[in-house]
């Protein structure tokens, strides 16, 4: 009898456990998602905030960055002032990065519970364009501003001719140099034009500082360096010339091989925690362990917010290239704000968000409040903006960000974002980059494995 009971108990427990499955408690996962630059160091707390009169149309909005929501709240108040007949009341909620994207995916898949407006990070965007797109096209709402906007930034959020995301910034990538360190060891960053120059400077720095200071840190948790290389060669792994996925590109090989050599020669270190845009990375910069790194212009806000001690020590410059004449910048990162089909008044939501992000007024506020290189290029040459020395970003850096931006203006590529982009980023950040940069695995072999895996994914 006892034994029968045991069998029954064992069976029942197994069944119960299997059937009840796995409850999951999602947390934040900044390292996993490669293009998380915007979110990485923003707080993980959930914040709810409502602005606007009760009489206004009520909208819900989600974001993964509290700074974004603060900005939108400000823009909502401006909107209400300018549009007395179309008042809105918006409730803003800030969620941790992956929580928010997962929640939105589920809400759109099930057709219930989605907000009216939501920020979607560029690397995650393709996940939301699958199947019948559950987002409201912004074409009509964007039209009034379209001529002033960088077209490629609209295209990355589009499918079949419909624009689904309102862009925030270009994300032009530049090299950040710590001039205090470089001056100390007699290195002139303005002379660095190619990666060979850069490597040479790294060697000099390594010798002069007795190995204490590295020229840069390479990432195992992000693909920025590879994006830079691809843009310089005009290659694209997600959709090359024939539209096929190919990660075994010369640009990628050259960059990884060069980085392996840097690590071997003590010119570079591996970024603590895998990327520069995390607390560990900020500390590394503050400690003076590295003298330079490539990052998009939005990284300026990290200096202002998290590394105020570095004021006056950092200069911005165009990226070194493999061969002269290549593109010296690339757009990295970004957030497309979407309007969902579940919205109670999608037209109003779309008009508001394009006003907040794409209009001249909105763009100016994005620059002033968030320090992003906005997509509205009118602003780049507006002397009242570019020469405003009271601006916290312009006064922080040794070089004027707009000088660099205008210098590389025609060279800012954007790589295509396809439905394979999340998978490529994911595989490189968990596997390939760790193997190549941590374990010193052969570059060709690692890329071959990545290619095999990703072809299966398609």
């Amino acid at each position: 009898m006892k034994r029968n009971l045991t069998v029954f108990l064992a069976g029942a427990v197994t069944a119960a456990m299997i059937l009840s499955g796995c409850s999951s408690k999602a947390g934040t996962d900044p390292k996993a998602n490669t293009d998380v630059q915007e979110s990485a160091s923003e707080d993980n707390k959930e914040v709810v905030n409502t602005v606007g009169p009760d009489s206004g149309t009520h909208l819900n909005m989600w974001s993964f960055a509290e700074l974004h929501n603060t900005f939108y709240a400000d823009m909502a108040e401006r909107w209400n002032k300018e549009n007395p007949d179309r008042q809105i009341q918006v409730t803003f909620t800030t969620y941790p990065f992956s929580d928010m994207h997962n929640k939105l995916i589920m809400a759109l898949q099930t057709g219930q519970g989605a907000p009216d407006l939501c920020d979607v990070e560029i690397g995650q965007f393709p996940n939301f364009l699958q199947g019948d797109v559950q987002l409201y096209p912004l074409n009509d709402a964007i039209k009034p501003y379209q001529n002033d906007l960088v077209p490629s930034r609209l295209d990355v959020y589009s499918k079949d001719g419909n624009y689904y995301g309102a862009p925030t910034h270009v994300g032009a990538t530049v090299m950040y140099y710590n001039t205090e360190i470089l001056d100390q060891y007699g290195i002139d960053y303005t002379k660095i034009k190619t990666w060979d120059d850069y490597t040479e400077a790294g060697r000099k720095l390594n010798e002069a500082s007795d190995g204490k200071v590295k020229l840069t840190s390479v990432d195992t948790g992000g693909v920025d360096w590879l994006t830079v290389a691809m843009s310089e060669y005009g290659e694209d792994w997600a959709a090359g010339k024939d539209g096929a996925l190919n990660v075994e590109l010369d640009s990628v090989k050259n960059m990884l091989t060069m980085q392996q050599a840097w690590l071997k020669d003590g010119i570079a270190m591996v970024s603590p925690a895998g990327i520069v845009d995390l607390e560990e990375g900020f500390q590394n910069i503050l400690d003076g362990n590295i003298a330079s790194f490539p990052k998009a212009l939005w990284f300026m806000s990290r200096f202002v917010n998290y590394m105020p001690e570095m004021k006056g020590k950092i200069a911005l410059a165009p990226l070194p290239v493999f061969e002269e004449g290549q593109n010296r910048s690339v757009g990295i990162g970004g957030t497309g704000t979407v309007v969902t089909k579940q919205s109670s008044d999608p037209k109003l939501a779309a008009d508001f968000i394009t006003y907040a992000k794409c209009s001249s007024e909105g763009s100016r506020q994005i620059w002033e409040q968030l320090g992003f290189d906005v997509c509205n290029t009118d602003l780049w040459t507006d002397a009242a903006v570019t020469n405003d020395s009271s601006n916290q970003y312009i006064s922080f850096f040794k070089t004027n960000p707009f000088d660099v931006l205008n210098e590389v203006k025609s060279e800012i590529n954007t790589l295509s974002i396809t439905k394979m982009t999340p998978a490529i980023n994911d595989y490189f950040c968990t596997t390939t980059l760790n193997e190549v940069l941590q374990d010193g695995k052969d570059v060709d072999e690692a890329l071959k494995e990545a290619q095999d895996y990703l072809e299966l994914e398609q």
Binding site: T6, A32, T220, T430
Partner: protein
């Protein structure tokens, strides 16, 4: 009157009383189970659901990341069982003997970790296993004159960290199972063995272990599934579902990645059913080998 008749009816009343359970069982368990089977043969996107036959399963066969996840889960299951049956049994025997003083305190101390949230304890373990020289485990190592270890970046060390967390958390629970098993053993057996001059080891070997068998089988059965379905520990230890070279990826972690993070519900269903199949097969084999299905001997 009618209602009263139903309640007093010997035929109807039992069904009425189990109805709430049956309903919730059907809605929350039976339906999802069949729905999962159906979904594993589909590709599911918003507004576009297609039947794709065995494509999901064919992909699983070739998916190297999934194979890594299976390997990790099986390794974890194996070692967690190897650690979480002998040691708790040993502790239970100790607690049951006269060798230990302040038993309540010990039992409480061993059981306490089970009451904590994995989210919190996982976060603490992540900090303890930090690769920095100031991480607790590396501080211990430095006492021993060893260099710091990047615990969560290398396969072996990572499994070590996972198992440490697992043992810390579950030793007390398993010990309680064994303790209750020990209580049901008739003390006269030990007395007569003592009279016959049996040593303590022989008593343990020939009385305790055989009579604890039902408990051991029960613990083994739940450990198989608990080991295979581990997710949260790894999720917290790496502060997310991604670990370098997937050293912390488990089957359920992969299911979460596909289903929730990438919105591939069909593929995730296939992963889930594979897990179900594996757990059932391992447990059925284990139960057959243990003779659980044999008829009770007279």
């Amino acid at each position: 009157m009618k209602i009263k008749r139903i309640f007093y009816s010997q035929k109807a009343a039992p069904f009425l009383f189990v109805l709430p359970f049956l309903l919730s069982f059907t809605v929350f368990w039976i339906y999802p189970l069949f729905s999962t089977v159906k979904m594993s043969f589909q590709s599911i996107l918003p507004g576009q659901i297609e039947w794709i036959g065995l494509t999901n399963y064919e992909k699983l066969l070739k998916d190297t990341t999934f194979h890594t996840a299976i390997r990790n889960s099986l390794t974890y299951m194996f070692f967690s069982i190897a650690l979480l049956i002998p040691f708790p049994m040993f502790f239970a025997v100790l607690m049951d003997s006269n060798l230990v003083k302040a038993k309540g305190l010990w039992k409480g101390a061993l059981y306490l970790p089970a009451l904590t949230s994995v989210v919190i304890s996982g976060t603490l373990f992540r900090l303890m296993f930090s690769e920095l020289p100031t991480g607790q485990m590396n501080v211990f190592l430095s006492f021993l004159g060893k260099a710091p270890i990047p615990w969560l970046k290398e396969k072996g060390f990572a499994m070590c960290a996972l198992l440490t967390l697992c043992c810390w958390r579950w030793t007390g629970v398993n010990m309680l199972y064994f303790l209750s098993g020990l209580k049901s053993i008739d003390t006269t057996l030990y007395e007569s063995a003592s009279i016959d001059g049996a040593s303590a080891w022989n008593k343990f070997r020939y009385i305790t272990i055989p009579l604890l068998r039902p408990t051991t089988i029960y613990v083994l059965t739940i450990s198989v599934y608990a080991g295979l379905s581990m997710f949260l520990e790894s999720f917290m230890l790496w502060a997310g579902n991604s670990s370098p070279k997937n050293i912390g990826l488990t089957i359920v972690g992969y299911l979460y990645k596909r289903g929730i993070e990438k919105n591939q519900m069909g593929y995730a269903s296939a992963v889930g059913l594979t897990l179900l199949g594996m757990a059932l097969i391992i447990n059925v084999i284990q139960l057959i080998l243990n003779g659980t299905f044999k008829k009770e001997e007279n």
